[in-house]
């Protein structure tokens, strides 16, 4: 009895600490509703199904890989009679219209990758009100009106990158931070994650944080200027390999030793890393989130309970496993944490 009590107390204490940390970290979701399974029996339907996928855009290669995963997974399920895809071209207003168009087609389930978080609330609410279950993927909505949310946390991604960088520098040094598009959800989340992580490393001094629009051109230009401005840059935190690869080029051309630079699973970055041999880390923002989203969608329509929240585990590529991911023969803009079979890769 006593032992049971002790176990219980320790367990409780552990819970409280964890909850406290979680609250402090702002991942409250993990603990309340998010780990829960959602009963989807009311959405069960006999095939054939019509599924709508409202994509935010396919205007860059990450999004193309993401969309391909969705379509690849959909193609594997003969139960899906119709699979409609719309492209909002990065415009939330158009996406709202797209969702309305999809609903007009009488879809049984909506998969949505919102163009901007929060702004697509009315779209998903409308779908749920009509009894169409919604799978949100990649970027979040702030309403509760969805069945499941599949993502890979941008906050975590930024945080892991920053922690790696701080550890690599031994907790001490000057870094610059290069973000994506000011005002874009993923960029801001990654930045927030990084900033929160850096609070634990008082020795790390952020010399400057600038936005580079996820453009390799701007990444290179901004870095070239920052090199002039700061004689000593010990590390570069870049929230994506787009500006990251530009920054590496700038460093290389300035004839500087390349300090640790963070990146992601974009082949360009991996290739540079392999060729130049600097200290790098790639934290993937998995393109296969889309595949998971379709799998969850199938579950829902089969009436199988799904988790309220699915976090797709990001791959962390380090020096040790770099060779497993980098492919010198593949194009620069390929994302290597991919689950696509060879024939589904974008090709001419």
């Amino acid at each position: 009895m006593k032992r049971v009590l002790v176990v219980l107390c320790v367990g409780l204490l552990f819970w409280i600490v964890l909850a406290g940390v979680a609250l402090a970290q702002g991942w409250v979701k993990f603990l309340d509703s998010d780990k829960m399974l959602v009963d989807t029996s009311m959405y069960a339907k006999t095939p054939p199904w019509k599924i709508g996928f409202s994509n935010a855009s396919i205007s860059n290669s990450w999004r193309v890989f993401f969309a391909r995963h969705v379509e690849y997974e959909a193609s594997k399920h003969p139960e899906i009679a119709e699979f409609y895809v719309t492209d909002a071209q990065d415009n939330p207003t158009k996406q709202l219209a797209d969702v309305e168009d999809l609903l007009a087609k009488g879809i049984d389930l909506l998969i949505i990758s919102p163009a901007t978080e929060a702004a697509l609330n009315p779209a998903v609410e409308k779908a749920m009100e009509k009894g169409v279950p919604v799978v949100v993927v990649d970027r979040k909505v702030t309403t509760d009106a969805y069945v499941t949310f599949v993502e890979s946390s941008n906050y975590q991604m930024g945080k892991i990158m920053a922690e790696w960088l701080a550890e690599k520098l031994g907790g001490k040094g000057n870094i610059v931070m290069l973000s994506g598009i000011a005002g874009a959800g993923p960029a801001e989340d990654r930045l927030k994650g990084a900033m929160d992580a850096l609070k634990n490393y008082p020795g790390i001094k952020v010399l400057e944080q600038q936005y580079c629009e996820w453009s390799p051109v701007l990444g290179k230009q901004v870095m070239a200027t920052l090199i002039q401005k700061y004689p000593q840059i010990d590390g570069v935190w870049a929230d994506s390999a787009l500006q990251g690869s530009g920054a590496i080029e700038a460093l290389q051309e300035a004839g500087k030793p390349i300090p640790p630079v963070t990146g992601e699973d974009m082949n360009r970055y991996l290739k540079m890393w392999k060729e130049m041999g600097f200290e790098g880390v790639a934290v993937s923002f998995p393109t296969w989130q889309g595949q998971v989203a379709v799998q969850k969608a199938i579950d829902i329509l089969n009436g199988i309970a799904v988790p309220r929240y699915v976090d797709c585990p990001r791959v962390i590529i380090t020096k040790e496993n770099l060779d497993k991911f980098v492919r010198m023969d593949l194009p620069d803009e390929f994302f290597m944490d991919s689950r696509l079979p060879e024939e589904w890769l974008p090709k001419r």
Binding site: Q210, A224, Q228, K229, E333
Partner: protein
């Protein structure tokens, strides 16, 4: 004005004067410079070209894909990319002249079409790589002078010479000043306009190659925003949006001004948002300045 900015830049940050920084600024200015040369021609003839950025990216993507890292392919594919640019410009020109449609909207449409074409071609994920020769064009240098800026200044100089000294150049001014009078003087106005758009397309494609060289791979959005920056540079350089007035000299200054501006905003450590605000203010101020100079000139 440029001198003033140089002084201000130095006050904001002495780093500005470092040779390496000047090198960077010049290098960063050159792709914008090349496309602004084309934009100047279009604006002088009384038009406007908003398809520049799209042509740049298309050329960049095609260069990477078709050169595939092989130096032997640089020259043929460069020609191919310039041909694509010329084609886009030709489309702009032919519709603007034959159908007398507003260039603003026609070039916007062309931009969309070529955006679609490059994505369809690459399926959204650009492939291939940029061979070392082209890379030298984009990032190499002779001593402290970037190769790309030599090309930019050379092109600007050649076009200025053509504008001021050749029959063709004079015709561009005439068309920009008064299309009807140019027509009545036996100038083949549609052909001039057509050629100007085609040239702008070629310059845009070339700018895309410079950027490809700078960047090292095919990027679907290389040159994003350059169409408006180029217009801003041309206008800041004193070329009138109404056409028929201005020249390359001003454009070179305008391009440097816009680039230096970004540079000193960064050197001053101002956040990105300020860069936009400052750019907006400077462009507005420059144009207000010109209009005052003009008005006081008239009242002289």
């Amino acid at each position: 004005m440029l001198v003033a900015l140089f002084v201000v830049a130095g006050i904001v940050s002495p780093i500005f004067y470092r040779p390496q920084n000047i090198f960077n600024v010049l290098q960063q200015a050159s792709a914008l410079g090349v496309v602004s040369v084309g934009q100047t021609l279009v604006i002088l003839s009384g038009g406007i070209d908003l398809s520049i950025a799209s042509i740049m990216a298309t050329s960049c993507v095609f260069a990477a894909a078709l050169m595939a890292g092989k130096n032997s392919m640089v020259i043929p594919i460069t020609l191919f990319c310039l041909a694509i640019g010329a084609l886009a410009g030709f489309l702009n020109g032919i519709i603007t002249t034959r159908r007398n449609a507003p260039p603003f909207i026609v070039t916007l449409g062309t931009a969309l079409i070529f955006q679609g074409i490059r994505f369809v071609y690459t399926k959204g994920a650009p492939f291939g790589s940029i061979p070392s020769w082209l890379r030298f064009l984009g990032r190499g240098g002779i001593g402290f002078v970037p190769a790309s800026v030599i090309i930019f200044l050379f092109l600007a100089l050649v076009m200025e010479a053509i504008l001021q000294r050749s029959a063709y150049g004079r015709k561009i001014y005439a068309v920009g000043d008064n299309k009807v009078a140019a027509l009545y003087s036996g100038i083949n106005v549609p052909n001039i306009i057509l050629s100007v758009y085609a040239l702008s397309g070629i310059f845009a494609a070339f700018g895309g190659l410079v950027l490809a060289g700078y960047l090292g791979f095919g990027d679907n959005w290389a040159g994003k925003g350059y169409e408006l920056d180029a217009i801003a540079a041309v206008v800041v350089g004193g070329t009138s949006l109404a056409g028929g007035e201005g020249g390359m000299g001003g454009t070179v200054v305008g391009v440097l001004l816009i680039t230096i501006l970004s540079n000193i905003v960064l050197l001053a450590g101002l956040p990105y948002q300020f860069q936009q605000i400052v750019k907006g203010l400077v462009v507005a101020a420059a144009v207000i300045f010109y209009s005052f100079v003009k008005v006081s000139g008239e009242r002289r």
